[in-house]
């Protein structure tokens, strides 16, 4: 009965096939095919989710191939609380975003192609979520990477979009290669790639290496430091893509990877430290860069990186539940924020916050939902972001590395600040550009916004003390160790203070004293420059990777041009020369000989044909003379 879960990825895959082959005929109906299959997948998954929530634990494998050493590679599904959480997020958020996309992409000439890609992405993501082993995980992981590339570069007529797609693909590729090495290392170390076998790992010298390499995949896919540079550029894609792939689901897959292979990481404390450190650095750094970004989507992109950093840090500190919890709530409010931002772009035609302002009256639904999302991400109780972020801060506070707690708290403060800077600049104050005539988006765009807004408000509650920390117990296992969830008032208080402090500071600088922001920029000029230049990561990578690479390329090109081409041309020239010699030889020697033969024959013939007079008497005379000669010789 649970095997119907296989239809969950297969339905979007069918939508992909239909849309890619018959998309032109379907026109804008293509969108609804994707939406319906996605919704159907959601409905199929729902009873199974309830089953798991009631304590079920399902898995099923079928043999793919048997290796020479007797080990088997299997495909199948594993439905435990963790994968079910992701299943819930992906199907619900994915469906809503696709509904939204039917409005956002309306009138685009490649409408059906867009939905084909999105459906393929959904199929891959759902396969990944229910995967029971690393190979299946990796395959769908790569398909997602492909979809990400295709969708970032969806408007490939723009150079920037095409470049962003390439950048994303190549950057994540670095992590993916590491991930694959990690999978192979793990296979050598443990002999199995099934997730369930991770629970009884034998100690092995290669395990730390396996864990670190697998974490490379997370660094690439979840845009962690130092491979975070692709995600801001990925905002060149259509906004629903940014919401679905680059905020809610795909980038969260990296976090899910760590959560999925959590027993492996738990077995290797050194790797955990690396994970926690990387996550913390990412959370802080991205929040810092987001402070000065002026593109509405770029702010959200850096915010995403930062929040992913929170999740990774939580996982690195051993907090499987807080990390996953934040993953879920983040998926909702970040998808909401992106879609609301998309609605702003849809309504105004610009995404520069310097040109926006005063939209609150003109775009009621968008503004309210965006505000809800911002409050949620800033961490104001009782919205979802507060509960999940509080869990993470609590984990950090209780861990042995308390510095992480302070760094994350500072990041949370910055999160609240940059989100409300965005809100105040975009929706409040006066319109800065009077040529923009904002209008509210159609209902198929605003409706998903409100559904997600409801999610952003309510989804934190299952993990809150009001519901007895139901989510934590659900994820942490049933009955075995009902961890004591003591409310730490200090952590909770500091979190609230950071959130409200950030919001207030933003209000002061951007709402009440609009000159304040400029002043701050001058006072902290080095910091301002560092932030607005994104800490010079792109420049650094250009200097240490791209430039040497290009120089090598240019050098190789010169080598090719002079040496290789020279050799080829030389060979050609030599051939030409020898053939010239051949030509002369042929012309004068061979032809000469042939002509000489002819000439000799002709000259000889010119003489001998004199004999052939055609006069019969001449012949007769010669015959007679011949006879006389014969007679002469006879008689001699």
């Amino acid at each position: 009965m649970v095997n119907q879960i296989y239809f969950v990825p297969l339905l979007p895959l069918a939508a992909f096939v239909v849309n890619i082959f018959f998309g032109k005929k379907l026109g804008e109906k293509a969108g609804w095919i994707s939406v319906i299959t996605s919704a159907a997948a959601c409905l199929i998954a729902l009873p199974i989710m309830f089953g798991v929530a009631r304590g079920g634990h399902f898995h099923h494998e079928f043999l793919w191939l048997t290796l020479s050493n007797g080990h088997a590679l299997e495909f199948g599904y594993l439905l435990d609380p963790l994968s079910t959480t992701l299943l819930f997020v992906v199907t619900v958020v994915g469906t809503l975003i696709q509904v939204y996309a039917t409005g956002y992409m309306h009138g685009d000439p490649k409408f059906s192609r867009f939905f084909a890609y999105v459906s393929l992405f959904m199929a891959a993501m759902l396969t990944l979520v229910i995967a029971n082993n690393f190979i299946q995980f990796f395959v769908s992981w790569e398909i997602m990477g492909l979809c990400s590339y295709l969708l970032i570069g969806f408007w490939f007529e723009k150079d920037s979009a095409a470049n962003a797609g390439r950048k994303a693909f190549l950057t994540t590729r670095i992590g993916d290669v590491g991930f694959f090495i990690g999978i192979m290392t793990l296979y050598v170390a443990s002999g199995s790639l099934n997730f369930r076998d991770l629970h009884h790992l034998q100690p092995h010298a290669l395990l730390p290496m396996a864990a670190l390499f697998i974490f490379c995949g997370t660094i690439g896919k979840s845009a962690q430091f130092p491979l975070h540079v692709w995600l801001p550029d990925a905002m060149e894609g259509p906004t629903p893509v940014s919401a679905l792939i680059h905020a809610a689901t795909m980038v969260a897959a990296g976090v899910y990877l760590v959560a999925r292979s959590f027993p492996l990481f738990e077995a290797v404390p050194q790797a955990m430290t690396v994970v926690a450190t990387i996550g913390t650095i990412t959370a802080f750094m991205a929040a810092f860069i987001a402070l000065t970004a002026t593109d509405i989507k770029k702010v959200l992109a850096y915010s995403t990186i930062s929040q992913l950093g929170f999740m990774v840090a939580a996982l690195g500190l051993g907090g499987l539940t807080p990390g996953t919890f934040h993953l879920m709530t983040h998926a909702f409010f970040k998808a909401l924020l992106f879609m609301a931002a998309g609605s702003v772009i849809h309504g105004t035609g610009t995404q520069e916050i310097k040109e926006l302002g005063g939209l609150f009256g003109k775009m009621k639904h968008t503004s309210w939902t965006f505000l809800i999302g911002s409050v949620a991400i800033a961490g104001v109780p009782p919205l979802s972001g507060f509960w999940s972020k509080d869990e993470i801060l609590l984990t950090a506070y209780n861990s042995s590395q308390r510095w992480i707690y302070w760094v994350l708290l500072a990041s949370a403060f910055m999160t609240a600040f940059y989100m409300f800077r965005l809100v105040f600049l975009t929706f409040f104050g006066k319109a800065r550009n009077h040529h923009i005539h904002a209008h509210e988006s159609p209902v198929n765009m605003t409706l998903p916004l409100w559904v997600l807004a409801a999610g952003a408000i309510l989804l934190g509650l299952p993990g809150s003390p009001f519901f007895g920390n139901w989510f934590q117990n659900f994820l942490g296992g049933h009955g075995e160790h009902h961890a004591e969830h003591v409310i730490n008032w200090f952590v909770m208080g500091s979190s609230v203070v950071a959130a409200t402090g950030g919001i207030l500071l933003a209000a002061v600088l951007y709402l009440w004293f609009p000159q304040g922001a400029l002043k701050m920029g001058e006072i902290f000029r080095p910091l301002y420059l560092a932030s607005i230049n994104k800490l010079w990561f792109d420049e650094l990578y250009k200097r240490i990777i791209v430039d040497p690479w290009q120089a090598t390329g240019r050098w190789l090109f010169a080598f090719d041009k002079t040496i290789i081409d020279g050799t080829v041309n030389g060979a050609g020239w030599l051939t030409l020369l020898t053939s010239r010699i051949h030509d002369v030889f042929d012309k004068y020697i061979i032809d000469g000989l042939v002509n000489l033969t002819g000439a000799v024959v002709q000259i000889f013939g010119a003489f001998t044909r004199r004999i052939q007079t055609g006069l019969i008497q001449n012949y007769l005379l010669i015959v007679f003379l011949g006879v006389l000669v014969l007679v002469y010789f006879e008689l001699k």
Binding site: R609, Q612, G614, L615, I616, Q617, L620, L621, F624
Partner: protein, 103 residues
Amino acid sequence: MIVPLEHFLIFGAIIFTIGLYGTLVRRNLIGVLISIELILNSVNVNLVAFSKATSMAPETGQIFAVFVIAMAAAAVAVGLAIVIALYRVQKTVLADEVNLLKW
């Protein structure tokens, strides 16, 4: 009186020479044919003369001569036919004017 063999041979040689001369210098093909007849006849004279002078059976040479005469008649018949045919086409019987197959 017995005519010595030499006389016949000299007579035959004279006729042969006349025939040969005629064959080589006559332009008229009919003349050429007549000259060939002269050569054949000189041969006949020689055959008969040798036969009478040296052979035990003189008929041998005479019979040979009769065969030559018959053959000569046939040859002349063919030759004249060719000449007539030639004349119809070329309006000439002169040997040096018939050079269609030259070169």
